[in-house]
């Protein structure tokens, strides 16, 4: 009976609305008593954030363990994933995050892998630029030419001979770019405001199913 009460959507939305309105009160009225309660609420939110990291890890482990157990397609990659996660977690628990094994795994596996994935962007940008930037239409021509001007302005070898490119690039970045960007930022902010309002009014169905 008690658990049924806690599952009611109205209770969830009431809690969301209360917390949201309290945070807005904290923003609107700067008063030490309100701020102290807000700090506690935010502490709980931080705790939840940390907990969700653990939940996500456990869920990934559960999914890949199932793949290994049932020997589904590519199960060996899932086995590798499970093995790495278990080694990392247990070595971290035993030795601490600054222990020899976690540090080795971090410096020699995670770090280079992350940097490699980021570096792939260089290759993809070049191939995308070569493949797609053709002066096929007016819009694409404008996109292409602005791209090439900014690329050239960031190239010291070219700016030695054409120093005016730097001023053109700065104009593109500080005038049309900022104007367009502000429009998007305002649009995104309006979207976030209305999402908050829908949540306060208990209308955001996707949050509670």
């Amino acid at each position: 009976m008690t658990s049924e009460i806690f599952k009611r959507k109205e209770l969830v939305f009431a809690l969301i609305a209360f917390l949201g309105l309290w945070l807005f009160l904290d923003y609107s009225v700067v008063e030490p008593g309100v701020q102290s309660v807000t700090a506690d609420i935010l502490k709980w939110a931080t705790l939840l954030g940390g907990f969700m990291l653990i939940y996500g890890g456990l869920e990934a482990l559960r999914y890949h363990s199932k793949v290994v157990y049932k020997k589904q397609r590519n199960w060996y990659w899932s086995a590798y994933f499970v093995a790495i996660v278990l080694v990392y977690v247990f070595s971290g628990l035993i030795q601490g995050s600054k222990g020899m094994i976690p540090q080795w795994l971090f410096n020699n596996m995670l770090d280079p892998a992350s940097a490699t994935m980021y570096s792939i962007l260089a290759f993809y940008i070049i191939s995308a630029l070569y493949r797609t930037l053709r002066l096929r239409s007016i819009e694409l021509a404008i996109l292409s030419l602005v791209t090439i001007i900014v690329v050239a302005a960031n190239d010291p070898i070219i700016t030695i001979y054409v120093p005016q490119l730097t001023a053109v690039r700065d104009w593109f970045i500080s005038v049309p770019n900022v104007g367009a960007n502000r429009g998007f930022v305002i649009g995104a902010a309006i979207g976030a405001i209305f999402l908050g309002v829908r949540v306060f009014l208990g209308r955001e169905r996707s949050l509670v199913r």
Partner: protein
């Protein structure tokens, strides 16, 4: 004119191989390049130069391991510059989970770090979970989210540097190099807007136009723009680091990109003309 069409259909394999060569050569063979610090770089430099003894600086390394190769040189240069300032106290904290070990890396690479005492001149507070909510919590009351330091795991109140530091109001400047512009936006929303603490940043290079938006609005005090910005900063400090080496790499790859663009469009127009003639 089959060759015109072939020019526009070069296999990705060859494009990548040539790019890889152009990325490696400048790292092996130093190419000296002219550098004049831009006004963006000078503004960052002058902001740090204007710090006085006793000022507290919050240094938020949110680059993550993936962003370290690109942004790390700038982080090291900023750490070095802050450590050169007598009496300025530096507080390291992270909101991106892979960033904590990067503090040790940055401090180890900064030559002036050897003159600074941990716990008195600088402290590493560690990782705070929750992203934007973590930032808001941290700003409201540091001790609500951090009780021990990251380096030694001791209570932070045991360190003299933490004596009069309770919340965001006790900081003079925030330095936030970040791998995702969204982290910088969170800092602007949760730190600059309510507490008016100025922020300087190294935004991800792809998002420099986005950072310009906040700079023009005055919400971001200054930022280092791209590899050239980092290289200019190294030059101002008299350092020759990875950013300066990276600038040479950027030069070769940018020139390559322009050549590919020209080749692609020549092929496009020649192929189109051939079709029209037919």
């Amino acid at each position: 004119m089959g060759w015109a069409k072939k020019m526009g259909e070069i296999s990705s394999k060859w494009i990548y191989i040539l790019l890889a060569i152009l990325l490696v050569i400048p790292l092996l063979v130093p190419i000296p390049l002219p550098l004049t610090p831009s006004h963006y770089t000078m503004e960052v430099y002058e902001t740090i130069e204007s710090l006085k003894p006793g000022d507290n600086v919050l240094f938020v390394i949110d680059t993550g391991t993936s962003g370290w190769p690109a942004l790390g040189p700038g982080v090291i240069a900023l750490v070095e510059h802050l450590f050169r300032k007598d009496g300025v106290k530096v507080f390291f904290v992270e909101f991106e989970s892979t960033s904590p070990p990067l503090v040790d890396r940055a401090v180890a690479a900064a030559p002036s770090a050897s003159k600074k005492k941990y716990g008195e001149d600088w402290i590493h507070l560690g990782f705070v979970a929750g992203e934007e909510t973590g930032k808001a919590s941290f700003a409201a009351d540091i001790r609500k989210v951090i009780s021990v330091d990251y380096k030694y795991g001791k209570p932070i109140d045991e360190y003299p540097i933490m004596k009069n530091v309770k919340n965001m109001n006790d900081f003079k400047l925030i330095v936030e190099p970040t791998n995702a512009i969204t982290w910088m936006e969170q800092a602007i929303r949760q730190w600059y807007t309510p507490y008016h603490v100025p922020i300087i940043s190294i935004p991800p290079f792809l998002d420099v136009p986005w950072a310009e938006n906040y700079y023009r609005a005055g919400q971001l005090k200054a930022y280092l723009a791209g590899t050239s910005g980092l290289a200019e900063y190294e030059k101002l400090l008299g350092m020759y680091g990875d950013a300066t080496r990276g600038l040479a790499v950027m030069t070769t790859t940018h020139t390559y990109a322009i050549i590919l663009f020209v080749i692609g469009n020549i092929s496009y127009f020649l192929s189109r003309r051939k079709k029209e003639v037919k």
